[in-house]
Symmetry: D2
Subunit: 116 residues, 4 copies
């Protein structure tokens, strides 16, 4: 992942929407739904897989579907963050820092029930 | 968004899971569900908002919820991509490139019905 | 909606899974994902619509998609409740009763911010 | 599940919204989001569970959460169908009938890859 790549994606998404006159559709509400719809497609790829099959999914015939849906999720997430004027990578870094405090290693080690 | 930031997040997420012995829970299937759950929380923030209210959400009392959920979505997306050994930013760039071909400006300009 | 219809659906779904030897796939976890995937398809139908367009969706070309996805959501919900041995209609009645107490008319009238 | 129960729920939901002056929020688009949000909460209950744990979820401390979320999903589904003037149980019956044709027992028996 190159830095330029991520900022570049945001710029390209902005231009992509502007060229197609799609900015009018890109309200935060609509983009949240679009993001949700793409995650739904990702869920559909995994829904009948065992945990083991899910781990091996990139060696299955669904590999390109997984790549496709992951890409769509990131694209809509970046576009959503952009129309909200938010730096999602920065927010994620801060959240992860807070999560270290919320889930101290000593208390949660190996316990799924202490997950958020 | 700095490049180092994104790669740094991926590394930190890896360490975060390892320290807590949570790697066992991080099957792709489970992480897809976690991603879906976080997007669900984002949807809940926006569900009753008008389009106009959604555009102004960062000046509302839900602003920090939006930041929080966007962060969670990126964190789980990066973690999922990492366990699948995928570079999601690269995949997104390639997908956006393909979308340019799928949605030619001349054909789709201003038409939501021609969206994916 | 006839009573016999709903109980009949549950029975038919049970038989449908048994005949196809799909019971093995119908863990609650997998069925929750399937339900989520179907709701994702419903979201995709509505994501770019204005509130007004969404109200008129049954007079649009997407009408049969809406019918199709609503049906799928109910089918997976009933199947999920059945494998969990739950009577979802009864649970819904009890929940609605509790909601009357949680959202007293006097306090919440016309306020979306007091919605759950 | 009694017939009267389901029709009764639809009527009660209608009255519930009217009394609170919430009908204005109940556009199909908003209700689809609300439905999606509730399914997201259900997903969160199951996300870290093994298949076996998910099968035993009603004997765990999350049992009431499962009941609660299933109820919410049905309530929003019924409300959504009502504002769209659709009989979702009838649609589900017809869809299940079509699914018998789409997934013939002989072709799909025991094959998750032939699932929709």
């Amino acid at each position: 992942v190159s830095d330029a790549a991520l900022d570049g994606l945001i710029q390209q998404l902005r231009e992509f929407a502007r060229e197609r006159d799609w900015e009018r559709y890109h309200t935060p509400k609509n983009l949240v739904m679009a993001l949700s719809g793409e995650v739904g497609e990702l869920v559909e790829v995994f829904q009948w897989l065992t945990p083991e099959q899910s781990t091996a999914v990139m060696r299955s015939e669904r590999a390109t579907d997984v790549e496709d849906e992951l890409a769509d999720v990131l694209l809509y997430l970046l576009r959503l963050a952009d129309v909200l004027d938010l730096d999602v990578a920065e927010l994620a870094g801060a959240k992860l820092e807070r999560n270290r405090g919320r889930f101290p290693v000593d208390e949660v080690r190996g316990r799924a029930d202490r997950r958020p």
